[in-house]
């Protein structure tokens, strides 16, 4: 049955303080030393070693990242200048080819014009030659006709 025996008893009771107290204190102190060597020190070493490792890695990674960013910026400026350079070269080449084309076109035009002129002149010469010849033949023919007519008489 329920046996409540709080204070009255000469022996026992809830607040019976005796040598259990100092012995328990000694036990807890001993436990502190045991746990320190069994638990806190070894686990602490492992955890702190890992934390150091991780933080070192993070620092290293950050350094590398900043380096990468610097290189990236470098490359970007290089790329930019290369692009403008390429643009410049392309424009130059376009202008050059345009100039060359115009020159060639002019040259060809001139040549064509001159040969056309020459051909025209030749045609004219030949035409006049042919006309001369024709008129000479006509003269010859007319002279022949005239002579024949005179002879028949």
């Amino acid at each position: 049955m329920l046996a409540f025996n709080f204070f009255g008893a000469t022996e026992g009771g809830l607040f019976d303080i005796n040598a259990t107290l100092p012995l328990m204190a000694i036990q807890v102190v001993a436990l502190t030393y045991i746990l320190n060597s069994l638990f806190f020190k070894p686990v602490g070493n492992v955890v702190e070693k890992r934390e150091k490792f991780v933080s070192n890695n993070i620092i290293e990674a950050k350094n590398k990242l900043s380096e990468v960013k610097k290189l990236e910026a470098d490359l970007l400026t290089q790329l930019q200048s290369a692009r403008t350079e390429a643009q410049r070269i392309v424009t130059e080449a376009e202008n050059e080819s345009d100039k060359l084309y115009k020159e060639a076109l002019e040259l060809a035009n001139n040549e064509a014009n001159s040969s056309k002129e020459k051909a025209r002149l030749e045609i004219e010469i030949q035409t006049s030659a042919a006309r001369d010849q024709l008129s000479k033949q006509a003269d010859d023919l007319s002279e022949l006709i005239v002579n024949r007519l005179i002879l028949e008489k």
Binding site: L21, A25, T32, I34, V43, V46, V47
Partner: protein, 236 residues
């Protein structure tokens, strides 16, 4: 039979007589069993420490981290390392005692007198722990600040002196009685409920007891760390 099973024995002890001194045997028996289990658990977990923690090591590292956070927030960055094993031991001891007392059906083991239960339900254990905390904070203050530790007693104004002196007595008193009262009350409530209604009804109270037990362990360790932190704190 049920009444026998559920009987409560409050204030009964299993006495061990060694020469002139008398001990509460049941307290030592349970504490040895529980601390033995704790040490076995810890030895297993720390047997093969690896950089990639697995299984038990993971759990122990979590525990270590938890205790470190507790010690660091209360004591401060400068000296928490010195006191972390003590705070951690207090936490583990109280936690293992409370939960061991609540989870293991000790009543199945019959003793000639008294009964097995949480070691923290005995006033001797809690006073021992509280006095250790008192000694610790005195030692921490004196070793860190020398005689300047006593400036703390007159810190904002000398009017505080009697209250600060009174505090040195109320701190261990409140620490020990809080733990003792909570754990004993929990055991009593569960015991009475099991005695009255042996089925189902005690279960929520048992869960509440587990909760209280864990909270009490946390409170004890936190307050111990806070007192030490208060003693080593530098006033400007």
């Amino acid at each position: 039979m049920l009444t026998n099973f559920a009987a409560l024995e409050v204030g009964q002890h299993l006495y061990w007589q060694i020469g002139n001194i008398r001990l509460h045997g049941q307290v030592f028996l349970t504490s040895w069993i529980l601390l033995g289990a704790l040490l076995v658990f810890i030895s297993l977990g720390t047997k093969k420490m690896e950089n990639d923690p697995k299984g038990l090591q993971n759990l122990l590292e979590f525990l270590w981290d938890y205790i470190r956070d507790l010690a660091r927030t209360q004591i401060g960055e400068k000296v928490y390392r010195d006191w972390m094993p003590f705070i951690g031991t207090l936490f583990l001891f109280v936690f293992v005692s409370n939960w061991g007392g609540a989870l293991i059906p000790w009543r199945l083991i019959k003793l000639p007198s008294g009964e097995l239960g949480a070691p923290t339900a005995d006033i001797n254990t809690t006073i021992a722990l509280a006095l250790l905390v008192s000694l610790s904070y005195f030692y921490a203050g004196l070793s860190n600040k020398g005689w300047r530790y006593f400036e703390y007693y007159v810190h904002p104004t000398p009017i505080m002196l009697p209250f600060k002196i009174l505090e040195d007595f109320t701190k261990p008193l409140s620490l020990s009685f809080r733990l003792f009262g909570n754990i004993l009350a929990d055991e009593l409530v569960v015991g009475v409920l099991v005695f009255l209604v042996p089925l189902i009804l005690p279960i929520p109270v048992m869960f509440l007891g587990l909760f209280t037990s864990a909270i009490q362990a946390l409170i004890f360790a936190t307050l111990a760390a806070y007192y030490i932190g208060e003693a080593v704190e530098e006033h400007h």
